[in-house]
């Protein structure tokens, strides 16, 4: 793996919030192109912080983060989030309430869907996520599952190098969760997108990812054994 370009490489990442014990204590991770990784862990262990560091929403205290062969974070360097080409689906989905479904998905495209190619990109995602017919609907009129899919489609629209999913399915009820998850995995495969999901649900991690890790004491531990079982 060392010679090929990786989607994501984290070397000895250190991170802590002021006045709190270390959240990440020398964490390392390598994720290949198109790979799906899940990170398991208890609440408050630092799973979301890991994603926020990758996205550039927090600054590293030490170590390095590389995205697609380019160094984006170290103790001295910090590439701002808007320049990292990373997509993120938040736990609360963060679908802009004042924009329609179409406008939400087109938000990350430079000309917001005015271009023919961009219109077709939005159309593509509407189809992939089974959102056809909902283009002009406002988020307040959508169900949880639909909102979740809009959030995923919006994050994937600009074709990010990595898609980060922060407990993205946890707010859905059990029956809906599985269906939406399968739909998202299908779309990720189609888009050949690299993705990292953090969750506290082992079954979800196992179903979503090619590789599963557990975050413990600030480091990632291979959880494949657990996931295999």
């Amino acid at each position: 793996m060392s010679n090929e370009i990786l989607s994501l490489q984290i070397n000895d990442a250190l991170f802590s919030y002021p006045g709190t014990p270390s959240v990440l204590a020398g964490l390392s991770l390598r994720v290949g192109l198109g790979e799906r990784v899940a990170v398991l862990g208890q609440s408050g262990i630092g799973k979301s912080s890991l994603l926020r560091l990758i996205a550039g929403l927090e600054k590293l205290s030490g170590g390095e983060i590389w995205i697609h062969g380019e160094k984006v974070s170290s103790a001295q360097l910090h590439v701002p989030p808007e320049k990292r080409r990373v997509g993120m689906v938040f736990q609360d989905w963060a679908v802009f309430p004042h924009l329609t479904v179409f406008e939400n998905i087109a938000f990350g495209l430079q000309r917001r869907g005015k271009d023919v190619s961009e219109r077709s990109r939005v159309g593509e995602l509407l189809t992939e996520f089974e959102l056809q017919g909902l283009e002009s609907r406002m988020p307040s009129t959508l169900s949880g599952g639909q909102l979740q899919r809009v959030a995923c489609a919006r994050a994937l629209a600009p074709k990010p190098e990595i898609l980060l999913l922060d407990e993205a399915f946890s707010s859905l009820d059990v029956s809906l969760r599985q269906r939406v998850r399968q739909q998202v995995v299908g779309a990720l495969k189609l888009e050949k997108a690299t993705s990292i999901l953090v969750t506290h649900d082992l079954d979800e991690a196992r179903e979503f990812a090619d590789r599963v890790f557990e975050l413990r004491h600030g480091c990632l531990h291979d959880a494949s054994v657990v996931s295999a079982g």
Binding site: Y17, A55, L57, E58, K59, P80, P81, E82, K83, R84, V86, G87, M88, F90, Q91, D92, W93, A94, V95, F96, P97, H98, F107, G108, Q110, P139, S140, R154, A155, P158, S171
Partner: protein, 516 residues
């Protein structure tokens, strides 16, 4: 709800609305009367001045309040919490006192008094005084926005300015408009400032008709027009409030992220944010203290003892009555299901949207047959109509934060409705009741138009005394009464703020900052 309780609520609603009905009847009668004389030129001047004043003042308030709200909600810098506290203080200083002190001060510096009385300066006075009306709702809306919305926009390539334009402004717009409409209503309702600054507005027209010409029908007609305009604003504000709550219906799990900014970089913005509090609170206070010390006259201070006692007893007594009604209405909204009762309470609490002058004229017309106009009863009645909304909404907001399960548990343990109120609800609502009482008292102390119209003969509050002295251009003599009013109101604002009345107290969890 028992039949007796329902009857009582209906009576309250009817009594609270009666003066408005009286006004509508009198005003409509005047409209069709052949003896009514209203010059179109005068009406057009009233309308034009009111509109220009409204636009200038609200635009200024939106600028200063908006900048302060954004600065405090989005950046972390040395002195932010202090600035947040200070930004609310202009609420404690009535705009007419700001006008009196500014004009007095500038005339002392050699500026001709006549040149100061103009629309532009009046707009600035209102803009500074009313900036908290914008700051409070916009700040609360900004900090209530989920941090993940902003972070999503950043991850999708938007700059900070683009996020303000495309995400934050559209999402806080309902709150901003609602605040702006309330500020607009205050401008329309004002009498003290515009009268002193010699601006002919709809409000001064009402008073001139009543006191100057003794023309009850004309005053009622003008009040009716102002009432209709307020009705439109109220309807619009209610719609916007509905939309603002819709914008917040999404799940909000992400903490507020403030960007750390050095004091030096923040300084120009802090300066803009400090302008209203310095010019509409600190400067008047300093001028008044200086005047009181330089020309200290024991007699002037003795002369304000009676107005102070009258103001305090009126504020405390009426405040208690208003809070009782507010509690009753909040109770109906909280515990009695059904749209009818909800609508009834909303009707009874229309008063906050009505200028004091309109309520005053309505009550004068309504109370005339009972020989109660010009009595303390009429005055307390007017305060109840005008301020019961403030009491109700403050108590209702507090009630919404009390988990319903406590009251349900008490019912299961055998308490009657009254026992639940006495043993559970009221103890849990102590803070909200105190906040409601303080806020109502502050507004009663500041209230001028209704007090002027309805006061008993020879009855003087601090507000009336300052107005009378200022009308006679005896500005230096207003110092003791003005100073006492400001001290009382600012102390009230501090007290209310420390009890969390304005919803801008720091959430311990929301202290996360973001280094950039």
């Amino acid at each position: 709800m028992s039949l007796l309780a329902k009857f009582f609520i209906l009576v309250c609603v009817a009594v609270f609305l009666a003066p408005l009905f009286a006004l509508v009847v009198e005003g409509s009668g005047a409209f069709f009367s052949e003896t009514l004389t209203l010059s179109p030129e005068l009406l057009s001047a009233y309308g034009q001045n009111s509109l220009l004043l409204l636009l200038g003042s609200v635009f200024g308030a939106v600028f200063f309040g908006g900048v302060t709200a954004y600065l405090c909600a989005r950046f972390e810098f040395c002195g932010r919490k202090m600035l947040q506290w200070l930004a609310v203080l202009p609420l404690g200083v009535p705009s007419y006192l700001v006008a009196y002190t500014w004009v007095d001060f500038l005339v002392d510096q050699g500026v001709p008094g006549g040149s100061l009385r103009n629309l532009t300066l009046t707009c600035f006075i209102f803009a500074f005084s009313l900036s908290p009306y914008i700051f409070l709702p916009v700040y609360v809306a900004l900090v209530s926005l989920s941090g993940s919305l902003i972070e999503s926009a950043r991850l999708l390539g938007r700059s900070r300015l683009a996020i303000v334009r495309e995400i934050e402004i559209p999402l806080v717009r309902p709150s901003l408009f609602a605040g702006a409409l309330l500020a607009a209503m205050e401008v329309l309702a004002d009498f003290g400032t515009v009268d002193f600054m010699a601006i002919d507005t709809w409000s001064t027209g009402i008073y001139r008709s009543w006191f100057g010409y003794g023309d009850r029908a004309r005053a009622a007609l003008l009040a009716l027009v102002l009432l209709s305009f307020s009705g439109v604003i109220l309807f619009w504000e209610a719609r916007l409030r509905g939309r603002a709550s819709l914008a917040r219906t999404g799940r909000n799990t992400s903490d507020l992220v403030r960007t750390r900014m050095s004091f030096r970089r923040a300084f120009p913005l802090i300066l803009v944010a400090l302008v209203p509090v310095l010019l509409a609170c600190v400067l008047p206070l300093l001028i008044l203290v200086q005047r009181s010390l330089l020309s200290f006259d024991v007699e002037q201070w003795i002369a304000v003892v009676r107005p102070t006692t009258a103001t305090l007893s009126l504020a405390l007594g009426s405040g208690a009555v208003v809070v009782c009604f507010g509690f009753l209405f909040a109770f109906v909204l909280q515990l009695c299901a059904g749209r009818f009762w909800n609508d009834m309470v909303r009707l009874a609490t229309l008063g906050y949207a009505l200028p004091g002058g309109v309520i005053g004229i309505g009550l004068l017309v309504f109370l005339a047959p009972f020989s109660l106009s010009g009595s303390l009863v009429g005055l307390v009645f007017a305060y109840c109509i005008r301020f019961v909304t403030l009491g109700t909404s403050t108590i209702e907001a507090g009630w919404l934060t009390v988990p319903r399960v406590f009251e349900e548990q008490a019912r299961i343990l055998g308490c009657s409705t009254l026992a639940v109120l006495r043993r559970v609800s009221i103890p849990l609502l102590q803070k909200s009741l105190a906040c409601a009482f303080i806020l109502v008292c502050i507004d009663i102390i500041k209230e001028l138009p209704a007090s002027m119209l309805l006061r008993p003969f020879n009855f003087e509050t601090l507000a009336i005394r300052t107005y009378n002295l200022a009308s006679d251009e005896r500005l230096a003599e207003t110092a003791p009464a003005s100073l006492l009013m400001i001290v009382l109101c600012v102390a009230g604002v501090f007290l209310a703020q420390s009890l969390g009345a304005f919803g801008i107290s720091e959430n311990k969890k929301a202290g996360k900052n973001h280094e950039q």
